[in-house]
Amino acid sequence: MSDNATSEPMIKLENVIKYYKAFPAVNDISFEIGKGEVFGFIGPNGAGKTTTIKMLATLMLPSEGKLTIGGYDVVTQPYEVRRIIGYMPDSFGVYEDLLAWEYLDYFAALYHLNPTQRKRAIDDVLELTDLTIKRNAQVMSLSRGMKQRLCLAKTLLHDPAVLLLDEPASGLDPHARIEIRELIRELCRMGKTVLVSSHILTELADFCTSIGIIEAGRVLAAGRIDEITEKLAGNVMIEITVKGDTAITLDVLAERPEVKRATCDGRTIHAEYAGQADEIDELLEYLINRGVRVLSFARTEANLEDIFLKVTRGVVA
């Protein structure tokens, strides 16, 4: 890491723009990722996620702006950056004729590991990705999920501090997706800084500490999940389950000016409460006093999906 890395964020983008001919695929984005954070980069297809990740992985030059990883500039210090990052693209090929260990040995050598280090690293990553049993299997004989895990194993050989994972679970069946998610969770526990992109929100919700929402080349929100939730979720959402006619409950709720919106989903009512958070018990008291038979009354946290829908407009670049 560079000398400036101790106080600097691990990944930093400042006013980054990338043009493809005259079209800005990435349009003036800025955000930071701290050391040890797991940053979920969310956006629809064509939003600019892969372009941003490729610039961070030193595969592409930005048209304008600055990107740094570990204090190193990706434009002027690409080899220093490559030393500390592990990159897994969204679509990748493998060398089908090689054996699994040969594939890893190849990349380990490209990362300048000596023979002893290579052997140890290969054993470690095969164990981590649960591929030890496939050590001597030909790569072409591996399933899609196993190839994905092999690529992830390759990404970890030189023990990088930062991982750039572009849709690591894309194209996998649910079981394989869970395996990849568990792996990423394990990597988080190991203290790695991870930037993982996806257009599937539920994948990221479980383990991300911070998120960046990108649409049509622009970052619409970026930061810790709890901060964004608090900033963007706006009003408190309440979930009320009642016994009896829900229409009566909706009428009662309509009488309260602090209830902005209420919708019904079977026996459950979702209400948006615009009042003071610590006075929410008064609403419950009002409902009971008006004869509503409340089975449950709970405040719900806005989830990633809520935030995403609120922030984006559904624009595709």
Partner: protein, 276 residues
């Protein structure tokens, strides 16, 4: 730090795994053997015994010319899709995002192609030994001919690799490489013939300048270089490089071409982020 070229090792592993490498090698040696056998059969039936006793003088140049022709056809395919195939297989990004330097990539890929070329040339050595045993052949001339073939193969591999870095699609890169080789070995002599005809059309006799240009063009040609090693073949008339053996001129010219190709390939890969 113990470091070797992992790209060279990987390329050689994948190249020699599977049937293709052995089929090509076998086909190469079988083709040469059949042609030699056919010519020897014709010679032994029709030529006087004095010729048959020195049939090495006929068989060796034939063997070398056939090999040279095969090298022109197959050497470009050894490295023409070196980079383009990585892009098509979507492995190129992973390679670039690693700590592999442009020199490692260039020497690894071209080195692997050359290793296979050396293998094919070595494969023909038993046949050369056979023709040598028929007599009439100078070993020194055979060695020079092999040097010409090797240098030509090296140049064709280097040029093909350069095309591979410039052209995205593997098939197109292979085609362009083949056209480049054809230009070098056929178009240049064709140009020489053209200048030769032009030289002869002057009323005062052939112009010296044209003759020298013919001489220069022919000296770049590997077939002309091999021909210059055959005893009894007249030298190319020309004053500029008259004292220098043709095969030396050809080897030096191709060495220059190789160096230029490798340098341009290195430059292209050094600026990979501009075109990836």
């Amino acid at each position: 730090m113990d470091y070797y070229n992992p790209i060279l090792i990987k390329e050689m592993r994948t190249r020699m795994r599977g049937k293709r490498a052995f089929l090509v090698l076998t086909g190469y040696v079988v083709t040469l053997s059949l042609i030699l056998g056919l010519i020897f059969l014709v010679l032994s039936k029709n030529a006087p015994s004095s010729i048959v006793n020195q049939s090495g003088r006929v068989l060796t140049p034939v063997l070398v010319y056939v090999q040279m022709s095969l090298i022109c056809l197959i050497a470009p395919t050894f490295s023409a899709s070196a980079i383009s195939s990585e892009r098509e297989q979507q492995t190129f990004d992973l390679l670039i995002a690693s700590l592999a330097r442009p020199t490692t990539i260039v020497f690894g890929k071209v080195g692997a192609a050359l290793s296979y070329l050396l293998l094919t040339l070595f494969g023909s050595l038993p046949l050369i030994a056979l023709t040598y045993s028929f007599g009439g052949v100078d070993l020194g001339d055979v060695a020079k001919a092999y040097l010409v073939m090797l240098m030509s193969g090296v140049t064709f591999c280097s040029l093909s690799f350069l095309w591979s870095t410039l052209i995205r699609r593997g098939v197109l890169a292979q085609l362009t490489s083949l056209i480049t080789v054809i230009f070098l070995v056929a178009a240049m002599p064709a140009l020489a013939l053209f200048f030769s005809a032009l030289a002869g059309s002057f009323n005062g006799g052939p112009s010296t300048t044209f003759l020298n240009m013919v001489d220069l063009l022919m000296r770049t040609n590997p077939f002309a270089a091999i021909a210059s090693l055959i005893p009894g073949v007249p030298p190319i008339p020309g004053a500029w490089l008259g004292g220098v053996p043709v095969w030396i001129c050809q080897v030096l010219f191709y060495l220059l071409l190789t160096a230029l190709s490798l340098f341009l390939s290195y430059r292209r890969l050094h600026r990979v982020r501009n075109w990836i």
